[in-house]
């Protein structure tokens, strides 16, 4: 596993995302209200580019005629067949036991610490004053 600097903090706004390629893997990095999540950009169902999908909420119901809408922006819906994944866990909503999208560890680290390395940042000049989003792949 190598650590990759993918963006400066502030570059991905809350509710936003950045698509990157790390170690040959297409990965989407999401900002969920200041928390960051990195998911493989490939739906386990039929291989669609999951991280290009819509961020949505979760509609649930306990009985016909009633519903709740919760967790706005925390479910990622595949652009192909609409499979929904929990962006926090990578779990599929309709098949949580068996279907999961790969999640990668994300940390936010000060430039000062990163300057000491080791990390991979082909396109970055790391400044000691700035904080960065780091994904481990």
């Amino acid at each position: 596993m190598a650590r990759h600097v993918v963006a400066a903090v502030g570059e991905i706004p809350p509710g936003g995302r950045k698509l990157v390629t790390l170690n040959g893997r297409d990965i989407g990095v999401f900002n969920l209200g200041g928390e960051y999540f990195a998911l493989l950009n490939r739906c386990p169902h039929q291989g669609g580019a999951l991280c290009q999908g819509t961020l949505t909420g979760l509609v649930t119901s306990t009985t016909p005629g009633e519903f709740t809408y919760a967790r706005a922006g925390e479910m990622l819906k595949c652009p192909w067949h609409g499979w929904e994944y929990d962006i926090r866990t990578g779990q599929s909503w309709c098949d949580p036991e068996d279907t999961k999208v790969r999640l990668y560890p994300v940390t936010v680290e000060p430039g000062e610490r990163l300057a000491k390395g080791p990390y991979v940042a082909e396109t970055f000049t790391v400044s000691v004053e700035q904080a960065y989003i780091v994904v481990e792949v």
Binding site: R25, P44, Q46, G48, G53, H81, G82, D95
Partner: protein, 370 residues
């Protein structure tokens, strides 16, 4: 389906070792509402501007779109030309034909439909315009793509004229009609179209589509798209039963009908039930010399998408055994949201020979591709 982070999907394998695919259901689209105007007489351009199309739908704007996704399509399929999904040949080549090693692709235009048009002269003009546009902008631009001759099927004479106009042109691999029709498609008013199809060796492709004012299932209008998504397959079953029982295939043993986007797991059970009824009531339909199952297996083929998915994926093998491995034709339905990726469409085991039949060989035989 466990997490994996390998990029080992088919596009990474060298093309030479990959399975060739014939895709029996691709939806191209007009880039804009006036794209057919260059192919319509001034009389019809004025008519469309002043009167529009007159379709047999019960209410204005009652067509239930977007159907789970805008334009019913994958959200990543909107092309850079600014038009709707399926309207940009270059993007379709990139997202579908090149990526999945598609040797031939059968085009089905869903809208507009000349056959749905109540004004029959406009319907015929629209069909001619659509066919000319398909030829010029699609099949002449990429030889992998094969169009269907769209016909104004409620007017058999005009349909035969349209077939005669294009027959013999290798860019057109079949004839297509809508399926929600004024009468069930087995009725004799449609037979001249089937006779022309046989005369020219062209299959008839029937993709679930169209409006006839009736609910797609006779039990009434569906409340949800999830219902409608399946109910259209029920209407295809009624259509297949009509064609068999009216004697279309008894009269035209060489007629080939391809049922598009309605599944195939239902075919064995429909065949069993019809055969049982036929044994007891055959004096009512003496024109059926053979049991109904004979015609369902001899004259009809069934496209795969959306693939039937039994709880135990291996059970699908049993269903295809009952149906016949030569009956199933692979289809993606690109760019629609429920498209099947050829690499994932079937979750059961298949031998190399079975795979080759379903993904290309069966379609090659039906459509007579080299």
């Amino acid at each position: 389906m466990t997490p994996d982070d390998g990029p080992a999907i088919a596009r990474d394998r060298p093309a030479a070792t990959r399975l060739k695919v014939i895709d029996c259901d691709i939806h191209h689209a007009l880039p804009g509402p006036r794209a057919l105007y260059p192919y319509l007489a001034q009389r019809w351009r004025d008519h469309l501007d002043r009167h529009g199309q007159r379709k047999p739908t019960p209410f204005v704007a009652s067509s239930p779109y977007p159907k789970t996704a805008p334009a019913l399509s994958r959200t990543d399929s909107w092309p850079p030309n600014g038009g709707p999904p399926g309207s940009d040949l270059g993007f379709l080549q990139e997202q579908l034909l090149d990526r999945y090693n598609i040797e031939y692709g059968l085009l089905h235009l869903l809208a507009p439909s000349g056959m749905d048009e109540r004004n029959q002269d406009l319907g015929a003009a629209l069909c001619r315009a659509i066919n000319t546009w398909q030829h010029e902008h699609w099949t002449q631009q990429d030889q992998r793509l094969k169009a269907a001759i769209v016909v104004p099927g409620e007017d058999a004479a005009a349909s035969v004229a349209e077939i005669e106009h294009w027959a013999g042109n290798p860019d057109f691999a079949q004839i297509s009609m809508i399926t929600h029709t004024i009468e069930p498609l087995g009725r004799r008013r449609y037979w001249p179209i089937y006779e022309a199809a046989v005369r020219h060796g062209l299959p008839v492709g029937l993709h679930t589509s169209g409006f006839n004012g009736h609910a797609p299932a006779a039990s009434g209008w569906p409340s949800f798209y999830v219902e409608e998504q399946h109910v259209v397959a029920l209407s295809q079953q009624a259509l297949a039963i009509s064609m068999v029982c009216e004697g279309v295939f008894a009269r035209l043993p060489d007629l080939k009908v391809v049922m598009v986007e309605s599944g195939f797991a239902w075919v064995p059970s429909v065949a069993w039930r019809l055969d049982a009824h036929w044994k007891r009531m055959r004096e009512e339909v003496p024109h059926l010399a053979e049991p109904p199952s004979h015609y369902l297996r001899r004259n009809m083929w069934y496209t795969s998408q959306p693939s039937d998915e039994p709880e135990n994926p291996e059970d699908l093998r049993q269903i295809i055994d009952w149906l016949g491995w030569d009956r199933v034709l692979f289809a993606t339905d690109y760019p629609h949201w429920d498209m099947d990726n050829p690499d994932f469409a079937f979750r059961c085991r298949m031998s190399e020979a079975e795979r080759r039949m379903i993904y290309a060989g069966n379609a090659r035989a039906v459509y007579g591709f080299a």
